[in-house]
């Protein structure tokens, strides 16, 4: 980092996000914010050490990237393997994979909103950190805390039912799945949904009220006019299998392409100060081709949602702006809750489909294609697994583009904007730090996924003077 002529503030690592990162704020000599960078500083290199492994192992290896969204890696990997085999799944296998995927969305989004982000909204960014957490939530808003815990548990039980474990399940295999769903399991999943939907509606009301009461903050907080990327099926929101769509800031469909063509459309820019790459839309180059993914990306990219209640919520969401495109970063939370609602409705559809109780689980085959691409929407955004294999199926090259990477540029810009609003000089108040962290938290990044890293997340703040010396360090364990 060039800091010889600047004062620098480093927030390292960020708390209450999944993984490990830091924020560096460069100050000018008079204490104004000059430049802000969100760094991801860990590296594990799954793409490297998977070389030489049999491709059939990848759906088991790659979920180890993450303990929060292993299902997304499991499914994207399995889809890439399907492509190598050149098979089309049976209806039962495809729908069971989607059942697990909906469970994953419910549990992961519930974790993000109820456990990680709602304390900031309910207690305020300037509240004492001792209460601005899930324990404080339990104390002051026990019903909300219980609702969040219930949704997490429900989603995780679905994953465990099909995959044997809540974390790092094993269900999808190249060409299908390895376990069917029993009728009594299906009935139990359906029976729990009405209560969960009621709880979700209350959370939606809470977010909508918050955004209405804090309209000025919401309009300003890390707002960015960007393009948006997400999977669609017949124009509708899609989380498991669709075409990749890019929509412009003004709502025009810039491009829509098959997932196997991602390489021709998406490039990856590299900066020396972060292990996290910066994906961009190739025809527009970097940084103009940067876009956002995840709940806000998907909700903006799609035309509509195929399930009735989520569709109605989407219509209400789009009334937030004149042209229906919502660039407000705090609206990620609103979009996230709409996606939980969609996941519950879609799950209900799937569970009421007789195919999910079928026993035709797997299509077998050998290496038919030397290359396979699998794309799903992970809770945090579009996840791409791309493998090249030799004639026997050994991995020759693996490329993973994860959700957090797509949002890298936007997170950097958003943090910079908040820093400019709240920081002058090296006296950084807790509220300013937490606002910067909350920008990151809106995107719910998984830094473990994005760099395939490991570790826990204390918060460290470093202030460096114009010579680059550290003059202040603050650590929150």
């Amino acid at each position: 980092m060039e800091n010889t002529k600047k004062n620098t503030i480093v927030v390292n690592p960020i708390t209450r996000i999944e993984g490990h990162g830091k924020i560096t704020v460069d100050l000018t000599d008079d204490g104004a914010v000059d430049r802000v960078r969100f760094h991801v500083t860990q590296y594990r290199g799954f793409e490297v050490f998977s070389k030489g492994r049999d491709f059939r192992e990848m759906p088991v290896i790659t979920p180890r990237i993450c303990g929060i969204c292993p299902v997304s890696h499991h499914l994207a990997s399995a889809k890439a393997c399907d492509a190598i085999l050149g098979v089309t799944l049976t209806p039962t296998a495809a729908k069971l994979r989607e059942v697990m995927h909906m469970g994953q969305f419910i549990q992961s989004h519930a974790l993000s909103f109820f456990h990680l982000s709602s304390p900031d909204l309910l207690f305020g960014f300037d509240a004492d950190p001792a209460i601005r957490n899930v324990a404080g939530l339990a104390q002051e808003y026990p019903d909300l805390a219980v609702a969040g815990i219930g949704m997490r548990k429900y989603g995780q039980e679905i994953i465990k039912t099909l995959g044997g474990k809540k974390v790092h399940p094993w269900h999808s295999i190249p060409g299908g799945v390895n376990r069917s769903l029993r009728a009594e399991e299906k009935d139990g999943m359906i029976a729990a949904l009405p209560k969960l939907k009621d709880d979700l509606r209350k959370a939606l009301d809470l977010v909508k009220n918050y955004l209405a009461e804090n309209a000025e903050l919401a309009a300003r907080f890390a707002t960015l006019e960007t393009s948006y990327l997400g999977l669609v099926k017949d124009g509708n929101l899609e989380l498991y299998d669709g075409r990749i769509r890019l929509k412009s800031p003004r709502g025009r469909i810039t491009d829509e392409f098959d997932d196997s063509e991602y390489c021709a459309h998406i490039g990856e820019h590299v900066e020396e100060w972060s292990y996290l790459k910066f994906p961009f839309y190739r025809p527009l180059g970097f940084p103009h081709g940067s876009y956002r993914v995840g709940p806000l990306g998907r909700i903006n990219a799609c035309d509509d949602i195929a399930t009735p209640e989520a569709s109605a919520e989407l219509a209400a969401f789009r009334k937030s702006t004149d042209d229906g495109m919502v660039h407000y970063t705090l609206y990620y939370h609103y979009a996230r809750l709409i996606e939980i609602l969609y996941s519950m409705e879609r799950l209900e559809e799937l569970l009421n489909d007789p195919d999910v109780l079928g026993s035709d689980l797997r299509i077998t085959g050998n290496v038919t294609n030397r290359e396979g691409v699998g794309v799903v929407e992970a809770p945090r955004g579009t996840l791409i697994h791309h493998y090249e294999v030799d004639g026997k199926g050994a991995i020759e090259r693996a490329n993973l583009i994860v959700a957090t990477g797509h949002n890298n540029y936007a997170m950097n810009r958003g943090v910079e904007q908040v820093a400019r609003d709240y920081i002058t000089g090296s006296d950084v108040k807790e509220g300013a730090l937490n606002r910067m962290e909350h920008v990151i938290r809106c995107y719910d990044p998984c830094l473990s996924c994005s760099t395939h890293a490991v570790g826990k997340m204390p918060l460290k703040l470093e202030v460096r003077n114009s010579r680059g010396d550290v003059v202040r360090t603050v650590t929150k364990e």
């Binding site: 456990h115 324990a135 815990i149 997340m457 918060l459």
Partner: protein, 154 residues
């Protein structure tokens, strides 16, 4: 006596997996003394686990700990109480006291609880325990059996 034995940690990080090995052994000791033990193995403690605590007469947590913490014996058998102040800043790092506090706040009373912790030697990638950690685990089990006997928890 109905007991939930919750072993947590990462079994792919050598000695961090000691909680997973301790838990079934602790359950066996409880069963030997007439108790009914249910084992739960997790990578980490999570809020949703708290909901079920009220169903049990005793909670036993088993975990690894890093060198330089604890009593200096290499293992500890420690009765624990709810303590919300111990929360980390993210859900990767909460301890059993914090989960107990969450359970107490949301669902009322929590049963008596004990933490069996064993000092690890290595937390590098790999399965299985180091010899030193394995020895400490055996000592911890013997001490836990005494703890059970002393409290007449049958």
């Amino acid at each position: 006596m109905k007991v939930l034995v919750c072993g947590y940690g990462n079994p792919f990080r050598t000695d961090d997996g000691v909680g997973h090995l301790l838990a079934p052994a602790v359950a066996e000791l409880i069963a030997f003394r007439g108790g009914e033990a249910e084992v739960r193995l997790e990578h980490q403690l999570l809020p949703e686990m708290a909901e079920e605590f009220g169903k049990y007469d005793l909670l036993a947590f088993t975990d690894a700990r890093v060198p330089g913490t604890g009593s200096g014996n290499g293992y500890d058998i420690r009765e624990i109480s709810p303590d919300p102040a111990l929360e980390g800043l993210n859900i990767h790092s909460v301890g059993p006291e914090w989960i107990l506090a969450l359970a107490a706040r949301l669902w009322g009373k929590v049963p008596p609880s004990v933490l069996v912790s064993v000092e690890g030697e290595s937390f590098d990638f790999g399965e299985g325990l180091t010899a030193a950690c394995n020895e400490r685990m055996n000592c911890a089990l013997a001490a836990f059996d005494e703890w059970l006997r002393d409290r007449n928890l049958q």
